[in-house]
């Protein structure tokens, strides 16, 4: 590899990250707030037992939550135990990793409004579609 070219590219990428650092720190600080102030109990209390409504609530609550994916498995597992539908739990677990309200400002600043809106809208719709497809197939197989 061409060493000067690498150093130049490396410098450029460090500079890019440095310019984005305040935004990254903001996103991480926001995730911390969401993680602590939006508790699993609060999320669980939003579900009603109606499959469609719960799928929507699962998608929205997963999208505004923050933290490692295993937390969503933990909450999802508990919701299933308490009788929640697979649709809602799948939507919740999936939206946790595909939608991110706290990341929206950063995504918008780098990719622009059109890309951010299209991607997140598609991701939202596909959370519902994939939940439906997964649970329907699961029921067919069992």
């Amino acid at each position: 590899m061409d060493y000067p070219a690498f150093m130049q590219a490396f410098y450029k990428s460090v500079k890019g990250f440095a310019l984005n650092l305040p935004m990254l720190i903001s996103v991480i600080l926001l995730s911390g707030l969401f993680e602590v102030f939006i508790t699993p109990e609060m999320l669980a209390s939003l579900f009603s037992g109606q499959a469609f409504y719960d799928s929507l609530i699962g998608t929205v609550s997963g999208g505004v939550s923050a933290g490692q994916p295993f937390i969503s498995y933990l909450i999802g597992g508990e919701l299933l135990k308490s009788g929640m539908s697979y649709y809602a739990v799948t939507a919740f677990v999936l939206s946790w990793v595909t939608l991110g309200v706290v990341q929206l400002p950063y995504e918008y600043s780098l990719f622009g409004g059109r890309f951010t809106l299209t991607r997140n809208l598609l991701a939202f719709i596909f959370v519902l579609l994939i939940s439906l497809a997964t649970v329907q197939t699961l029921q067919l197989l069992s």
Binding site: D2, F10, S13, L24, I28, G32, V97, L129, T134, L138
Partner: protein, 176 residues
Amino acid sequence: MKTQTDNTQSKPKQKINGRYLLPAVLLGYALLYVYSSDKTIEALLSSLSTMLHLLPVFLVVIVLLGIFTALMSAKKIARLLGKQSGIKGWVIAVFGGILSHGSSYIWYQMLANLREQNVRDSLLVTFLYARAIKLPWLPLMVSYFGYTFTVLLMFYIIIGALVQGLIVEKIVKHKH
């Protein structure tokens, strides 16, 4: 005669991203501290722990970006992930998404750079959705929801990532 200063002045000034959001978030923390000091400190500590946890990943991404930019010419990138990339581009986007580690926002900078080098929006959308497959957490997912559920969900995530990419491709084509 054009001076060095003139040249410097003619360069577009690079903006610091988040220069308004960060003070707003810090203000939010200050206000929440008044309302609930314990929880706010807990949130701050959690954020600091996330930052420390992400630091090595950031370094890896910076080095990767450097290597990638130095090794790959714009032509090569266009061939692999540009308009003419074909199936190869989709495969790279899906597997790249599955194998990439950490939170999505760590990868945004790299993806934005690739986009500037004419990487298709559709492949970026596919990459970002395929990231829903978290390889290190799969055993835990299996233990909570079972093998069949996990395999089915992974399968549909890949299909979903590809279909979303194709939809974006259609939208982009339609606009041009």
